[in-house]
């Protein structure tokens, strides 16, 4: 039987070139499904990745107890001083977190950009920062360091240009990178200048702290929460960013799979069409094989294998197209948790490519099954007459 399957399949595949037109239908149909599915899912993966890579080992946030975002958090200098002197905290950076409406390049409409005020310690607690163009802002001046993703997503953040935030004017003196994390969607400025320009007095939104490696984080968090002088809590960045992408990623995934399923149904019809016509154009050939003593099973298997081969080709094609077009493509969306724009790169990962190929093979199998059964059921005598 295996020898028969091998023979017939080989023959089919050799003949594929003569059915190029109709075979391309299955290939393109499935390529389309895989491209759209993988493309949409890669958005969800990219968004999750941007938030997850933001967290850094041994780095934590200090927020007002009860608040779950830097936007709704707040503390004063006295609280900052107490926390920064606690045992186990290596570097502490008190920061101001403000949002401004700046036009987004993609839509031309205002979107939420994060302006983060910090002192030198802000860079110290973020060793992953590198200034890739221009220079760091100077303390005491209305200068601004913009994340590379913010530069790409928002209007007017090119080096040397002046931007208006909240009735104050700033000069862009540098661009920074943090390895693709959500920080790259922010702009950073000098803390005292920001506090003065935005009329925030000595107000701080939150703290970023680097912890000693030996510290017991849970114990330190308990100490801060229990301190009667403080109404604060400590969360590690890992904890803080972990859940943030979930909702949006789930929404994108649901959308992706829904569109994928509907398209897949259409592609199965197309595949069925192709395979039925492949079978019908080979009626005489199949009947001859049967007459020569080839069994029904090898015929069925050979048709299915042909469909699978075409589907696999389509799946790989779709995956390749989406990889070439969209991998690394940058988009941004509103992160509900921080109420600000977070830019992310579409991430066409090996896992997604695998999903795409599995879908392709599944569709190919469905598209091949019924025509294969029909081929095997052809009554030999009528089929030989070519009717």
């Amino acid at each position: 039987v295996f020898a028969q399957i091998y023979e017939i399949t080989l023959m089919n595949l050799r003949n594929l070139t003569s059915r190029l037109g109709s075979s391309s239908v299955i290939v393109v149909g499935i390529a389309g499904v895989v491209a759209v599915l993988v493309g949409l899912l890669s958005m969800a993966v990219g968004f999750t990745r941007a938030l997850e890579t933001t967290s850094f080992e041994n780095r934590a946030l200090v927020l007002r107890d009860g608040s779950n975002s830097e936007l709704s958090s707040g503390l004063d200098v006295a609280a900052y001083n107490i926390v920064s002197r606690l045992e186990g905290i290596r570097v502490a950076s008190g920061e101001l977190y403000v949002i401004a409406d700046i036009p987004k390049q993609e839509t031309g409409t205002p979107a939420n950009l994060v302006i983060r005020g910090m002192r030198e310690a802000g860079i110290e607690v973020r060793p992953e920062v590198s200034v890739v163009a221009g220079r760091m802002f100077e303390p005491g001046r209305s200068e601004l360091l913009a994340g590379v993703k913010a530069v790409a997503e928002f209007e007017g953040l090119e080096l040397g240009s002046k931007v208006e935030f909240r009735a104050s004017s700033w000069t862009v003196v540098g661009h920074f990178e943090t390895g693709g994390s959500a920080y790259e969607s922010e702009v950073w400025v000098d803390l005292p200048v920001a506090q003065a320009n935005f009329r925030r007095g000595g107000f701080l939104s939150s703290m970023r702290v680097l912890l000693d490696e030996s510290v017991d984080v849970a114990e330190l968090a308990r100490r801060i929460t229990a301190d009667p002088r403080l109404d604060l809590k400590l969360v590690t960045e890992e904890e803080f960013y972990a859940g943030q992408a979930e909702d949006r990623a789930a929404l994108i995934n649901t959308f992706g799979y829904s569109v994928g399923v509907i398209m897949a149904i259409g592609a199965v019809f197309a595949a069925l069409n192709t395979m039925y016509s492949a079978v019908s154009s080979r009626t005489v050939e199949i009947a001859t094989l049967r007459a020569l003593g080839f069994g029904a099973l090898p015929v069925v298997v050979s048709v299915i294998i042909e469909a699978l081969a075409l589907a696999l080709f389509g799946g790989l094609l779709g995956a390749a197209v989406v990889y070439l077009l969209f991998d690394g493509y940058t988009a941004s969306t509103l992160n509900n948790a921080s109420f600000s724009q977070v830019a992310f790169d579409f991430a066409v990962t090996p896992g997604l490519l695998k999903t795409g190929v599995i879908w392709a093979l599944g569709l190919g199998f469905l598209g091949g099954l019924f025509p294969a059964v029909r081929a095997a059921r052809l009554p030999i005598t009528t089929a030989l007459r070519g009717e």
Binding site: S22, G32, A111, Y276
Partner: protein, 385 residues
């Protein structure tokens, strides 16, 4: 046999092939309709704007800022303004962060007369006004969480702690409302209670103003006047129509319309290729027949029109089925979807676009086969048999 009858018979000579082609066209148009509706929902911010005579006045630099409540009288005194009411974003968590729904402090009677599409009984509205810690919820939301009139709904504040440092706010449900236009799963409570109980930094602060105009035609003039009034104050504002405001906010999610267009393009590219291929194949099998028709005296033009007509009929049938299916699917998923993205509806024009597109695709697909049918010479064609 009429020409149409002949076309029909031809289409169904290979029933499986035609039905499968038809089904893939149907699926393409189903997807087209649904994606259009999703894109439209996001572009409009999911708001079916009833009152074209309403403006939103929000803090100039960012919606996350607050405005002082004493702006109210100033806005009311601007020419063209007939009513003003405030809302504030409360945030907060009911039991679990996953139970998300907006919560707003409002001035009861002002709110319900500003938004007539929100329906509440007079009795319950009066009870809402009388009760200091009272709250009203959308009926479906109340049903979802099993709230009854008289129940106490605890909300843990994240933005607005109370004056006494506690974060627990408790509201007594005194009524429910429905929004006749679309689902609005939200909880509203007294602004007076909010501003009295909230910590110092939140007192007498509002998130944004809703302004009613006497004449919708003066919207941009009045909006400019409001903005000018506060331009040089500590709290400058930005005023837009409700519609614009919702659109701009929705754009923050990203260009959903653009993504939808890419998918639609991919789908139709596939469909054109698929159906075009099928039509060419069908024609190929029928070359001798067409030759016979020509021998019988059918003109070149009629024969090619027939071939073209087949493609168009196939596409139109498929699109009609797709549009019909889309309406069925919508009635099934709209109730679920509307609590996420607001109004989910097909624009009247999208049906016309879909049919136009079907016609266009039919013509594109039928063109090549029609041309070759026309060029067919009888002798050559008959010889092929």
């Amino acid at each position: 046999v009429s020409l149409l009858g002949l076309m029909w018979a031809n289409l169904f000579r290979k029933r499986t092939r035609t039905i499968l082609t038809l089904l893939s066209i149907t699926v393409a148009f189903l997807l087209y309709m649904l994606l259009q509706a999703v894109a439209a929902a996001f572009d409009s911010g999911g708001v079916n704007v009833v009152g074209v005579d309403r403006l939103i006045t929000s803090p100039k630099y960012s919606i996350v800022d607050s405005l002082p409540v004493n702006q109210k009288q100033q806005i009311l005194s601007i020419d063209g303004v007939v009513a003003v009411t405030q809302q504030q974003w409360f945030g907060g968590v009911y039991q679990d962060p996953k139970n998300f729904f907006p919560k707003y402090p409002v001035v009861p009677r002002e709110f319900f007369s500003m938004y007539p599409e929100f329906r509440i009984s007079e009795q319950q509205l009066a009870a809402f006004e009388r009760s200091r810690t009272g709250a009203v919820a959308e009926q479906a939301l109340a049903e979802q969480y099993g709230w009854k009139i008289g129940d106490v709904i605890p909300i843990q504040a994240d933005i607005w702690p109370k004056d006494d440092g506690s974060r627990l706010w408790e509201f007594e449900l005194v009524g429910t409302f429905v929004n006749e236009e679309q689902r609005s799963p939200q909880l509203m409570f007294q602004y007076d209670y909010f501003t009295e109980a909230v910590a110092e930094f939140g007192k007498d602060q509002v998130g944004w103003w809703t302004v009613r105009l006497d004449d919708p035609a003066r919207a941009s003039e009045v909006a400019a006047a409001i903005d000018a009034t506060f331009e040089n104050s500590l709290n400058p504002v930005r005023t837009a129509t409700e519609d614009e405001f919702a659109r701009q906010f929705a754009k923050q999610l990203g260009d959903i319309g653009f993504i939808a267009s890419i998918i639609i393009a991919a789908v139709f590219f596939t469909i054109i290729l698929l159906t075009g291929n099928t039509m060419t194949q069908a024609l190929h099998e029928r070359i001798p027949e067409l030759a016979v028709l020509k021998t019988l005296g059918f003109s070149d033009r009629v024969v090619s029109a027939m071939v073209l007509g087949e493609a168009v009929v196939l596409c139109l049938l498929g699109s009609l089925a797709g549009i019909g299916l889309a309406y069925l699917v919508r009635s099934a998923i709209a109730p679920v979807l509307e609590s996420f993205i607001g109004a989910f509806d097909f624009a009247p024009l999208s049906v016309i676009y879909a049919l136009g597109l079907a016609l266009l695709i039919g013509l594109v697909i039928g063109l090549m086969p029609a041309l070759s049918a026309r060029r067919l010479t009888i002798v050559d064609a008959l010889r092929e048999r």
